[in-house]
Symmetry: D2
Subunit: 294 residues, 4 copies
């Protein structure tokens, strides 16, 4: 057995981990046998922008909303998110749509507040080995989306998950988002083999972020299909009403119009692979319109 990850390791007697995420309207599941789609804009840019987007996304059958309010940026002069001001917007989006919300935390001191509003907490690539943050998020009972580091080995990635599991939080979802290589025609290189390998080594669910991984709008769709075909348990996709004016990651964002057929493709591929795309169980009738039961 690996000396680095033990709680994260797949063992004969250990069952696959299923993450159940509660939201105002019911429950979303992430894990083996399901295909869970997370979508939203890279950043929450304003109340108008985000709430409009959410309403455009809902009919496409999204299971979880993403929306960054603390953005890690290479340059301190870039837009770094609305900060805690954005929390209210996320809360409103959640109520409006009935969908659960995931958002990234950069600073230990924001964890409490974010956990009160969001249904899942994201640890981003740049913080994959921010061990203080990992241990702290491990003390919460909130599901965690752990992105692979920019150039993290599979072992380091599972080691990072282990820090969270060890601290008591068993609800960890791994997210492959491309690794850094010499190839510069794509923003990163999606490690599709790692998706299959991590599923083999660990009982934790694994999803893929084809938007950050490729950095090119036209590649999101083929890479999303490939991810599901390789065994991924879900996808996280960037969508923006007006990608060309997005405050971050416009080049890789889809419009809601482009996203809708992609979501159909993904769900068809998931069903072909024997996965349920009914990852949301609605309890409040008014929210589960026909277009919504995916």
């Amino acid at each position: 057995m690996s000396a680095v990850y033990q709680l994260a390791a797949r063992l004969p007697q250990k069952e696959n981990t299923f993450i159940e995420i509660s939201s105002p309207c019911g429950k979303t599941t992430i894990g083996e046998g399901f295909c869970t789609i997370i979508a939203g804009s890279c950043a929450v840019e304003s109340r108008e922008q985000y709430l409009e987007l959410v309403q455009l996304l809902q009919p496409a059958g999204v299971h979880l909303l993403r929306g960054g309010i603390y953005k890690p940026r290479t340059s301190p002069y870039s837009f770094t998110g609305l900060g805690s001001e954005g929390l209210g917007i996320l809360e409103e989006a959640r109520k409006l749509s009935g969908l659960p919300v995931v958002s990234e935390v950069l600073d230990i001191r924001d964890l409490d507040r974010v956990c009160q509003v969001c249904d899942m907490v994201q640890i981003g690539s740049r913080n994959m080995q921010n061990f203080a943050l990992l241990k702290e998020v491990g003390k919460f009972s909130k599901p965690v989306l752990l992105k692979r580091g920019l150039a993290a080995t599979i072992e380091e990635w599972l080691g990072a998950a282990e820090y969270i599991l060890m601290a008591g939080n068993q609800q960890v979802v791994l997210c492959e988002r491309g690794i850094r290589t010499f190839e510069d025609m794509t923003r990163n290189t999606v490690d599709i083999g790692a998706v299959a390998l991590v599923k083999e080594l660990s009982h934790l669910p694994v999803i893929v972020d084809p938007s950050h991984a490729t950095g090119r709008r036209s590649l999101v769709s083929p890479v999303a299909r490939a991810a599901i075909a390789a065994g991924a348990d879900g996808l996280m996709i960037e969508v923006h009403q007006n990608p060309d004016e997005a405050l971050s990651d416009g080049k890789q964002s889809l419009t809601p119009e482009e996203f809708a057929p992609l979501a159909e493709q993904i769900k068809a591929m998931a069903r072909f692979q024997g996965k349920s795309t009914d990852a949301v169980k609605y309890e409040r009738a008014e929210l589960s319109g026909e277009e919504h039961t995916i």
Copy 2:
């Protein structure tokens, strides 16, 4: 337009390239809309080994046989193939199965002989920028399988294809076989985004070699499915009767028993993606048994 590749570039007026490979029993096609499966052992180890393998592979619906007789090896002390002695074995395998054969050439001086026997010539990763070899193979009318270099950029890969096209040979198939990165749990990192991007940039067919790309038997199947899902036009897979005793690449080789269900999976995925898996058109009745019309 790229200054590096012009003949290889996808242009509005330019149709996709289809490669037709003639064999004793009919024709095999590689190109958009087809899914072509190439299989065989990394090396032709002996007459007995290879002919037995070919007979085991045929029922699985392979379209093209691979078998290396000139093997590029890091160490000069490793098995470097049977050399020209192996040509007779490839010829026999071709007659026996009716299937076309592809084999790698390392030395310009072997091109003539190999082209007389084989239906397709492979330029391996280590020779992707052996420009003398590229120009020479460009003078033949034989289809070429051009593997991506160990750490070649997409632009360099298309530039290498351009050398062949410029010399007059238009029948080039590109093969993604994993690139070199920091991750060492897999032999290489499959660049699945590059498969989709190259299909976008060029009219040439693209296939994937999940065996070399991952170096792990258990990953061949998920990566093969992912490749087809991302738009690849085919696959090249290593199969060996006895992987543990293979003279090269045993760790990533499947047995014929493991390969048969994988071939079924691949074909099902291809059909789901709207691709024909009937890439071989048999003209000789005795060779197209029911199990063979895939």
Copy 3:
């Protein structure tokens, strides 16, 4: 001008940054024209171990002591340092030797305490883009040693420095510690060109850590010399009394006996390059023995 780093950029009218580090016995300088040697064990393992080591290091002409009490480790099961208990040991080492001390901080909540004891704070590779930590350390008036991330580009590294400078702290020293590449015979690949390029792009001092960069004891000496030859303003070197029993990084640690002649070599190379090796100005006579004025 780069949109990512502006305060860190070398401008015609801007002078080189010199860092002055106060210690019980006087002042240590890091910056253009000086060669500053930082040495110590990767981790402070115990009071006995560390104080003994410090006494062995002092005669070799070390300018700054390193000693980790919070250790970022891939596995949560590895030794992760003595934590705040180690602070007292660092304080004692500082008094005993008269030398300033640098130690890594992983958690924002430890910054205050560490800054009270240490003369310089290290931000490690895994936290190079822990922006919350960068901004916080930027509020202190303590010199910062900012290591390059595992796979950070030069632009990202300077962007990280910019976060600290923007927050008000101008005392930043950059530390190249090798980047992650495909080569696995060395732990990392020292980017010697980056040392020279960063000196060209920025006015901040740059030092090199040949121990982490190579991960091999025998390479520390040639890479240390190369670093000074390329223009580095100093070195950070791991030394341990008993490398084979070190709790971390033993394979790359030198014994004090091996370190002494290396320090001589480094100082000779520095003088050859026109750098002063007299980076410590002693104010307390009893601490500046002859062997110490380097």
Copy 4:
């Protein structure tokens, strides 16, 4: 002992390899204890260009001239050298200067002709694992300059040298020219640790090409000094009368005026490291002017 390289391995009883290169005017040595400087333009562009350059280089104390007549280029539309027409120019340069000449061979069929004119044959990065070429050059008694592949591991590099040694040619000089990494501010990343490590693992001489390795004129000088400091036995540097109009690699070429003081710096560093810079032994009096005895 490594299974990959045995003849190339440093063994207790085995002496360092010294390469003696004969030229019209005497002998040049490459090996431990010497610092050998190879310089010239990337390509021989015309008779006028190259002969003028050689006359400008000679006073700077160059030991060997480089000049490419067969150029491996990513794009077939780039200038690929004068080809065999350039051989006459190299011959003239050799006679005019009395200095030996090294030039790259891409095609087995050119080996004979190039070996008749040149004093050393270069195998370039793209052909490091062109095993047919390696075995063929191993049959000649001509010294070989073997560049490291674009992304070759140290083991693969030594394995490539082994192919030449095994074929009978013991005169191999290894050349580090930067490896491919994610960093794009430099053309490649110089692996300075590899220089020291290869000197430890093998008895073959190792030189560094700071021009291709960095791709930036301003970095040639610091990296050249670093290479000698790390133990390299020499350097290969690109010089061009008019870098901005060079047909290849202009951005990294120095003018003869920039090269002259660099050559002085290199020689000073070499002497500081205990190396002789008197690597040319002149036998013809008229060629060894005072400025030439370096």
